[in-house]
């Protein structure tokens, strides 16, 4: 999934070069562009389009994993249906709405924390000090480890019986008795968020660092000459200049967080207190074998992510127009 990156400044209209005006050449160029695009489009429609359409189709049927042979068409029943004075379907399932809320909460909190920590880490890495390259490489380690591995690692570290986290906290006298970090509903969401922040902060830091390296030095020299406080410089100069890069980081992370599955499933399995939309869909599909119902949940998840993307692009464009005026 690539998202078009919005330009940080509107492009001024330039008169077209001479050869562009010849329509023949232009047609040729357009055709060439299509030739280059075709393989990508074919591949995408096979690996993304086809499964998506199949899921959409299943969501209108009563397909079951125990027998995938010709399922019955049942219309919108998997989504919402009124029967005998009660509502049924995914949209009437309190567990689904709990999963939607969990996902939204997880996404907003974890992405916000990652942006804050990512910027801090990037500013540190941007400074000149000895061994900077080594630190830069070290910071990337959490991002390099596959989520399934790091989540299992954390699951053991957070274990209430033999986990090192409880052991350390008890050694320093911070807690009196072991805490079941991943089993206790009041801690488990925070445990999941913490592991996700630990893992993806380096990614945000990397994007921000790239932006910081491109900043013009003269602004800072001017600010220094004028004796402006560094904090003020950061908010007035640095932040506006790295905002485009930050926005890219945020949209990438947000789309990732909305479809989060592995970190939650490994740490807390199917517990409703942390269940995300993807975990819910998997449970319906695999554990309850209800391919129709699970596909309906997957389709809704797809719609929610699509809406989030469209809203983001729209807002981005609006901001551009405002900025351009």
């Amino acid at each position: 999934m690539s998202t078009p990156v919005t330009e940080s400044a509107p492009i001024p209209a330039r008169p077209l070069p001479a050869h562009y005006r010849s329509t023949k050449v232009r047609r040729q160029r357009v055709r060439a562009a299509w030739y280059f695009l075709t393989p990508m489009l074919v591949t995408l429609s096979m690996v993304a389009g086809w499964p998506l359409l199949r899921t959409l189709y299943f969501s209108f049927t009563d397909a079951s994993l125990s027998d995938m042979g010709d399922p019955l068409f049942i219309g919108l029943e998997n989504y919402l249906v009124y029967d005998n004075g009660r509502w049924f379907g995914v949209l009437a399932d309190p567990t689904w709405w709990q999963a939607v809320w969990n996902t939204a909460y997880f996404s907003v909190v974890s992405v916000s924390l990652e942006v804050v920590f990512g910027v801090i880490v990037a500013l540190i890495l941007n400074a000149e000090f000895k061994g900077r390259t080594l630190v830069r490489a070290a910071v990337l380690i959490p991002w390099a480890i596959p989520t399934i591995v790091s989540a299992q690692m954390w699951a053991w570290m957070l274990n209430d019986q033999f986990g090192i986290i409880n052991h350390l906290l008890m050694t320093f006298g911070i807690i009196a008795s072991p805490i079941a970090w991943t089993a206790d509903a009041s801690y488990s969401m925070w445990a999941v968020i913490m592991v996700d922040v630990w893992k993806t902060t380096p990614f945000v830091a990397l994007l921000v660092l790239a932006a910081l390296q491109m900043l013009p030095k003269d602004c800072y020299e001017a600010a220094e000459v004028d004796g402006i406080h560094p904090v003020r410089v950061f908010f007035k100069v640095t932040l506006p200049l790295i905002t485009p890069a930050l926005m890219v980081a945020v949209i990438f992370r947000l789309l990732d967080a909305l479809r989060v599955f592995d970190v939650i499933y490994v740490l807390t399995s199917n517990s409703t207190s942390t269940m995300s939309m993807s975990v819910y869909a998997r449970q319906q599909l695999v554990e309850f074998q209800d391919v129709g119902y699970g596909s309906a949940a997957s389709t809704l998840l797809f719609l929610i992510i699509a809406l989030a993307t469209v809203a983001y692009l729209y807002l981005g464009r609006k901001q551009l127009q405002l900025g351009g005026e």
């Binding site: 079951s64 994993l65 125990s66 027998d67 995938m68 029967d83 005998n84 009660r86 049924f88 399932d93 399934i148 209430d160 019986q161 072991p178 079941a180 991943t182 089993a183 206790d184 509903a185 599955f261 592995d262 499933y265 490994v266 399995s269 199917n270 517990s271 409703t272 993807s278 869909a281 998997r282 449970q283 599909l285 695999v286 554990e287 309850f288 074998q289 209800d290 997957s298």
Partner: protein
């Protein structure tokens, strides 16, 4: 979606395709709880020596909930990776479409001599899809030495158990064993909690969630009282961590000498009495307690062996199943691992009774065990069980009262019933 769960499948596939020179003829997947895997490997080895065929043994996740997911993915992909599967007593209805009718291959007397109730459970639409391997029922383990020391009889009711557990736990802690707990069981939100909670509800006279006619019966005061009683143990006589215990975690606490009572399956007997166990020679086993006018209830568990319809060596696989479920093999497993035979005759066998005395004493418990409502709910059983253990876990965590939980559960089950049974 399937990224995570395909990994084991790929490993299996990779192991099975390591070149034709040493390619195995069959692949069997066994459980790995306690000594299960070791016993399975020994049985398979005996068959290999007898027939000259080679078999790969693949171990699966310990949680039965996880294991079912894995099997369903393998089977619905019509994969040939696994020929013989160890399936839970509540699965035949869910998996029947993907399993072979063993009577076709092994003849009409396949399943003869096994407990009729289990054979019937494994017969779906007149097809015998699995042969019983061992049966299971929940039992109560107690520390005979501690009961004697503090002058108590073995408890018969839940009230007595709670009292005795509290008294001995407190006295033991006074005496310097800080880590002593009164009672451990399986409290994690998974299939095992369904088994535990069904025992509490049934032994309080609260029925079996859904009756044999398919009517939902959970919303009654006895069921609510049973769940409330269990919730009152948490943090009092049971550790807080019990909310995340499966069979093996509970056994770890009991076998380490840190619990007075434990609810578990019979397999824990052989391990608790093994060399190096802290409680060797101090353990007694009895039927689970009851309350008021009701009688003791033990959830029927147990595992069967089935052959995948997509197996490339179906006849050979069925022969392996016949060998592993035979009298000799079941006898060996009973003596070495305390796995309950499914053959009536072995319950009168002196060697078996000497190794596991309670097979004789609790014979009635094993034959009258309470079945989970998998038959009346059919395909929907996974959902029903999930709704039940989630609600129970909620009550144990103190988020809901028993009364609230059973009325919510009644509504939830009605939603499921409307679509599925």
């Amino acid at each position: 979606m399937f990224k995570k769960s395909l990994i084991p499948t790929l490993v299996v596939a990779g192991a099975a395709s390591l070149g034709h020179a040493q390619a195995a003829d069959l692949t069997i997947s066994c459980g790995a709880v306690g000594a299960e895997l070791q016993l399975c490997q020994q049985g398979v080895q005996a068959w290999e020596e007898k027939t000259g065929h080679s078999v790969d043994v693949v171990s699966t996740p310990n949680s039965s909930t996880e294991r079912l997911s894995l099997y369903q993915q393998i089977l619905s992909a019509n994969s040939t990776d696994i020929d013989v599967m160890q399936i839970d007593v509540v699965w035949p209805g869910l998996l029947a479409n993907h399993l072979l009718d063993l009577r076709e291959v092994l003849g009409d007397d396949a399943g003869a001599g096994h407990f009729p109730a289990i054979v019937e459970n494994n017969t779906i639409d007149d097809r015998l899809v699995a042969i019983p391997w061992f049966t299971d029922a929940g039992v109560l383990y107690y520390r005979a030495d501690l009961l004697e020391q503090y002058g108590h009889e073995v408890p018969e009711t839940w009230e007595e158990l709670t009292e005795i557990a509290r008294e001995i736990q407190d006295a033991e802690r006074e005496a310097g064993n800080d880590r002593m707990h009164g009672f451990v069981f399986q409290g994690r939100a998974y299939e095992g909690l369904t088994c535990n909670a069904l025992e509490w509800v049934a032994s309080h006279g609260g029925g079996t969630i859904v009756d044999s006619e398919g009517e939902i019966t959970i919303d009654n005061p006895q069921a609510a009282a049973a769940l409330d009683r269990a919730a009152s143990w948490i943090g009092e006589i049971a550790p807080d961590g019990v909310l995340n215990y499966t069979e093996e975690e509970a056994r770890g606490v009991f076998q380490g000498g840190n619990a007075v009572f434990m609810r578990n399956w019979p397999y824990a007997w052989a391990l608790a009495q093994s060399e190096g166990s802290e409680v060797r020679g101090k353990v007694g086993v009895t039927q689970l307690p009851y309350s008021g006018e009701s009688s003791s209830a033990a959830t029927l568990g147990g595992w069967n062996l089935a052959v995948s319809r997509y197996s490339e060596n179906a006849e050979l696989a069925a022969e392996l199943v016949a060998f592993l479920t035979s009298e000799d093999e079941q006898k060996r497993r009973a003596i070495e691992g305390a796995y309950n035979p499914t053959l009536e005759s072995l319950y009168q066998d002196d060697e078996v009774l000497e190794a596991v005395p309670f097979f004789g004493e609790l014979y009635e418990t094993f034959v009258n065990a309470v079945a989970r409502p998998s038959a009346p709910t059919g395909d929907a059983y996974g959902r029903v069980s999930n709704a039940f253990f989630s609600a129970t876990h909620d009550v144990l965590s103190g988020n809901r009262s028993g009364e609230q939980a059973v009325s919510d559960l009644d509504r939830e089950l009605a939603r499921i019933k409307r679509r599925n049974w």
